[in-house]
């Protein structure tokens, strides 16, 4: 057997150990990315073989915690894919205006930029007071940053460009104040947001909501986990509710597709059928 074949077995055993010992399940993540992450962990550890990491994983909780974070790719930005937010204004906002009260679930919120983007949009559409936003992730460290809402000032320029392109009605600087090297998001954006730990691979339906954002999370999963997670998300949505995926994520080939109608094919906005 070649070294690469043995490495595949080692990686499977590593993921199995992580699951059995800590209940974090990465066994159905897309393998090529997982392999990159495990090799990265291996290189950092100074060990030679992935199998040697299993010992560390089982007996060293700090090592395990770091490894778990390594599997969480938290790369994100404010108003990522500005056209998507334009489409939300156009296609979802009119629907929300008919509700006195609604709930939104942002699954895989990473460090929160997406959550604040949506909060800003809702404020501008005078809908924020009616909203309850649940923002979840399995990465506690990212969640903590999300909750703080403090971002490097040097990123603000990019955020501002995105905000303007997304159809923002005011000025992005209305929504944060600068302190030293940081941009601190306004408290008024936070009042209706609840940040919580939730693992899409192992935890179930969260709450009945009218909108689900799950963007740039499913690309990391294999088809079977995608279908599993999509059925959880679908079950969480009320009839007529909206599901929003990432720019390169498709519902078309999934097992839940027939429960939705396509609202915006390019921006990946889908609406759960009423029947």
């Amino acid at each position: 057997m070649q070294a690469e074949e043995i490495e595949k077995i080692e990686i499977d055993l590593f993921l199995e150990a992580l699951y059995q010992r800590y209940s974090y399940d990465f066994r159905h993540y897309a393998k090529a990315s997982v392999r990159r992450r495990v090799r990265h962990i291996l290189a950092r550890s100074g060990r030679k073989r992935v199998s040697e990491l299993i010992d560390l994983l089982l007996h060293d909780e700090n090592f395990a915690q770091t490894a778990i974070y390594d599997f969480s790719i938290t790369v994100t930005e404010m108003f990522r894919d500005p056209d998507f937010y334009r489409s939300v204004r156009q296609n979802i906002v009119p629907y929300l205006k008919t509700y006195p009260f609604f709930k939104i679930w942002i699954a895989g919120c990473a460090t929160g930029e997406e959550v604040y983007s949506l909060a800003i949009l809702l404020q501008e559409e005078e809908l924020y007071e009616r909203a309850k936003i649940y923002a979840t992730d399995f990465n506690e460290s990212a969640l903590k940053k999300a909750q703080e809402g403090i971002y490097p000032l040097k990123e603000v320029q990019q955020h501002t460009v995105n905000y303007q392109k997304s159809g923002g009605l005011h000025s992005f600087s209305d929504y944060y104040y600068a302190q030293y090297d940081s941009a601190i998001m306004r408290q008024s954006l936070k009042t209706n947001i609840t940040f919580a730990h939730h693992n899409l691979a192992t935890d179930g339906v969260f709450s009945e909501v009218q909108i689900v954002f799950c963007r740039n999370v499913l690309i990391y999963f294999d088809r079977s986990l995608q279908n599993w997670v999509l059925s959880t998300l679908t079950d969480s949505l009320s009839r007529g509710g909206f599901l929003c995926l990432g720019a390169k994520e498709n519902l078309e080939f999934s097992s839940v597709f027939d429960q939705f109608k396509v609202v915006d094919k390019t921006e990946k906005i889908y609406q759960k059928r009423v029947k």
Binding site: A30, A32, R35, R36, I73, I219, K248, N250, F253
Partner: protein, 224 residues
């Protein structure tokens, strides 16, 4: 039967008697995919390579090209250039098939899974860029092993050098654009240094070489 070899998966291929290389076995392998890395100046090279490939080119071509984030997707750029193959952006979970040239979507890493389907990721940039050629090449080397052809074209950074080296280590074939023909020779030079490629060629020669390498795939010998 000394002119044909049956591979493990039952595919037949012919020894490449036309090769000018002494180790003609290398040129007679049943290659299953081509990965190409392009950066600054790479568009010109691609526009000289891709139109040479016939519609029945028998294996998929997968390209990671660095683009300015606001530029249009690369496939758009070549569509009008008279390439017989279908150019498209790679979609996640899509299977890599002959007849297509797949491009990494701007701002995503493109990876190939062991079952020859694509994965996309928004992981941090590698070599200051996303898509990264190294990320594509490494995953493709894992997926295709000795049956992979890697090509590094013009560019101004060292992305692709490490990846091409991995392709070589796994027994795949490595081709680098001749620095003398590259608009920016930094990337080819880095790849030559890191990977000691099998061929250093001009874009026109690369096109011809790919066609040549694929010929024995297109018309296999009848089974024995």
């Amino acid at each position: 039967m000394n002119t044909g070899i049956r591979t493990q998966d039952g595919r037949l291929f012919r020894r490449d008697g036309l090769s000018h290389r002494s180790s003609s076995v290398q040129d007679s392998r049943p290659y299953q995919a081509v990965v190409i890395g392009a950066s600054a100046g790479g568009s010109t090279a691609l526009m000289n390579i891709l139109p040479q490939l016939p519609a029945n080119f028998p294996i998929p071509i997968i390209v990671a090209q660095h683009l300015h984030p606001l530029q249009d997707g690369p496939a758009v750029l070549y569509r009008a250039q008279g390439c017989a193959l279908t150019l498209k952006e790679a979609e996640e979970k899509e299977a890599a098939l002959p007849g297509f040239v797949y491009f990494a979507p701007p701002n995503y890493h493109l990876l190939v899974e062991d079952d020859h389907t694509f994965s996309l990721s928004v992981d941090a940039k590698v070599n200051f860029t996303r898509p990264s050629i190294d990320v594509l090449f490494q995953s493709a080397a894992d997926a295709y092993g000795v049956t992979l052809i890697g090509v590094v074209l013009s560019g101004a950074n060292q992305d692709g050098a490490a990846g091409l080296n991995i392709i070589k280590q796994r027994g795949g074939l490595a081709i680098v654009q001749d620095p003398a023909t590259s608009e920016i020779s930094y990337m080819p030079r880095a790849a030559i240094e890191a990977a000691s490629p099998d061929y250093i060629l001009s874009p026109l020669e690369i096109g011809a070489k790919l066609v040549h390498l694929s010929n024995f795939l297109a018309d296999p010998l009848p089974s024995v």
